[in-house]
């Protein structure tokens, strides 16, 4: 299945509106989409969604032999998988360069930045150590995968609790969650990756959506790409642990400074949100309320079918405020005729005169063409 092809007019349109200061879905430059975190029933499993981009993270642990070079340290293993569920152009268990890129960035951000205390994972030096494995599954690819997966990794690691272990002489007893309550993982600091798309005459937009990302990385006729993607990994103490730039070169350096400034506040707010979510989840578990992924399912249908943030949306347009104004009268069956392509287009949208745009609705019943498998007459 080939990559989704981007038409010229889309590219030009988006370039123009960004230069004019707007964005397709009504956000301004440094505004990012709604961040939503929900937890599963086990410790360490969560779904993080930024707008429509959704990532599932699951942490699992097992007892293994430590590496010889680091006998007293636990092992952390992060793995990103993109299945055809994320978007049609991905093939099943095929290692695309996007997965390699994501894996490398996450490793830099969470393993090399030493944000997790690996010594506390050691049970018996040189013999038995905890090995944590974070599995990330991209559920829906609406742009900005790196930010979504980095937040998912952080949330799942912070939320994960490993079973308690007591060492009696030679043998090691691993207690089940029921016996004594599990131990949370110790995190020194909370690094988060944030993405910025850079366009001409140093326009900097945060949290690019799928279309903005593809436009930014697509090449114009004269060969060079329109803009570049800058990924900033930063923790809540405003320390940078990762800086990665792809596509077009950056001409002046103050863009990077601006990016780092906005990354600072953004990461602070994201980390606070994460901590609040985890605390809220903990008191829920204290109160023995059952938490399950089925809570994401909302039963009122319009909500599910309508896309929460439309691809094209005005600044403060919201699907429900239309609803609130009118009461929801009982549904009646919509009598809608099937429109088969007639000879002339049914709506002759005459070119827009300065005053009015005219839609001359051509009357006359829509001519029906018999659809049957034998005759191959043109069908809708």
């Amino acid at each position: 299945m080939r990559e989704q092809f981007l038409s010229n007019c889309e590219k030009n349109f988006i370039k123009k509106i960004i230069l004019e200061g707007h964005r397709l879905d009504g956000r301004n430059y440094d505004e990012s989409r709604k961040l939503d975190i929900c937890f599963g029933s086990e410790y360490g499993s969560c779904i993080v969604s930024i707008g429509e981009t959704k990532v599932l993270a699951q942490v699992s642990c097992e007892v293994v032999q430590p590496k010889q070079i680091r006998p007293n340290e636990g092992i952390l293993y992060i793995n990103v998988e993109i299945s055809p569920m994320a978007a049609p152009q991905f093939e099943a268990n095929r290692q695309t360069d996007l997965t390699v890129y994501l894996n490398r960035l996450l490793e830099k951000c969470y393993k090399d930045s030493k944000c997790i205390d690996l010594e506390s994972l050691c049970i018996v030096v040189e013999e038995k150590v905890w090995s944590l494995r974070v599995d990330l599954k991209i559920l829906n690819h609406e742009g900005n995968l790196i930010e979504c997966s980095s937040i998912a990794t952080l949330v799942s690691l912070a939320h994960f609790k490993r079973p308690d272990v007591t060492r009696s002489g030679e043998s090691v007893i691993i207690h089940t969650l029921a016996e004594n309550d599990p131990i949370p993982t110790v995190l020194y600091h909370y690094p988060v990756c944030l993405t910025f798309a850079i366009f001409q005459n140093n326009v900097l937009i945060s949290d690019p959506s799928y279309i903005e990302e593809t436009v930014c990385t697509s090449t114009t006729e004269d060969g060079n790409t329109i803009g570049g993607l800058l990924v900033v990994g930063m923790n809540q103490y405003k320390e940078i642990c990762l800086l990665n730039h792809t596509e077009a070169a950056i001409h002046n350096s103050n863009i990077v400074h601006r990016a780092i400034q906005s990354a600072a506040e953004r990461s602070k707010s994201v980390v606070d949100l994460i901590k609040a979510e985890i605390i809220r989840d903990d008191n829920l578990r204290q109160k023995r309320t059952k938490i399950n992924f089925s809570d994401i399912i909302t039963t009122n249908h319009v909500q599910s079918l309508s896309m929460k943030d439309l691809k094209i949306c005005l600044k403060n347009y919201n699907i429900n405020d239309i609803k609130m104004e009118e009461d929801n009268s009982p549904t009646e069956i919509l009598d809608d005729k099937q429109d088969i392509k007639p000879e002339k287009s049914k709506y002759d949208v005459v070119a827009s005169l300065p005053q009015t745009a005219e839609i001359k609705a051509k009357e006359g019943a829509s001519t029906w063409i018999e659809i049957s498998s034998e005759s191959d007459v043109d069908s809708s």
């Binding site: 299945m1 599963g40 998988e81 569920m85 049609p88 599954k137 399950n292 992924f293 399912i297 069956i333």
Partner: protein, 218 residues
């Protein structure tokens, strides 16, 4: 030995949301009791010529469990779901195309495979792919005492003497797929078949309600 005591025969509470993912052609998230599964269908795509089939569409199923390591059990589930959906989908309407069905396990509290089959069917309904009939999966267990328990929970399933999985079609409730684990007598099998067939009506009714919800908006 016909089971004397009748376990209360009701299905786990079903909750479903269609069109959950924006990028795939048809998607559904379904929760049966505490087990939650997410399925996504990418409708008739053009695929490379080597894997094309002249007279019908090739169905490719991918089952991803929560933990990363792919296991043989996943291949077995993929095989069950692929064979079941192949009979349900009218492949002849889309020759030489490919349909990919991806299933992601979110929570597993027993009855994962039946939930996966039902969720796959809902995703296919949402994607608008032409189908001969709709399928409903029901599972039941024979516990030590010998009673039939519909939709066993995780503990009941482990301690059960036998597990029976059935998938029925919506046309005339024929058996599309069925497989069992453990030993059981013939009349227990008959009893289970009849029971599960009745239970499958609830599932078909549930499908109808889900479609009814968004029918007025079409």
């Amino acid at each position: 030995m016909v089971p004397e005591r009748l376990q209360d025969f009701k299905l786990k509470p079903l909750k479903c949301e269609l069109n959950f993912l924006s990028k795939s052609d048809g998607s559904a998230i379904l929760s049966q009791g505490d087990t939650v599964v997410l399925a996504s269908v990418n409708g008739p795509l053009d695929i490379k010529t080597t894997s094309q089939n002249i007279e019908k569409a090739t169905l490719e199923v991918l089952f991803c469990s929560k933990e990363g390591k792919p296991s043989v059990a996943d291949r077995f589930k993929e095989n069950v779901i692929r064979n079941t959906c192949e009979t349900a989908i009218l492949g002849c309407l889309y020759p030489r195309t490919g349909i990919t069905l991806t299933i992601q396990e979110l929570e597993n509290y027993g009855g994962l495979l039946t939930c996966a089959v039902n969720c796959a069917c809902l995703a296919l309904i949402n994607s608008g792919v032409g189908m001969r009939h709709v399928v409903a999966a029901v599972s039941c267990a024979v516990n030590e005492v010998g009673d039939l328990v519909l939709e066993p929970t995780q503990q009941e399933a482990e301690s059960a003497r036998a597990l029976l999985y059935f998938v029925f079609d919506s046309r005339d409730k024929n058996l599309v797929t069925g497989f069992t684990e453990g030993t059981f007598s013939e009349d227990t099998y008959e009893e289970a078949l009849v029971r599960c067939r009745l239970a499958s009506d609830f599932v078909f009714q549930f499908y109808r309600d889900v479609v009814k919800k968004y029918s007025n908006v079409i």
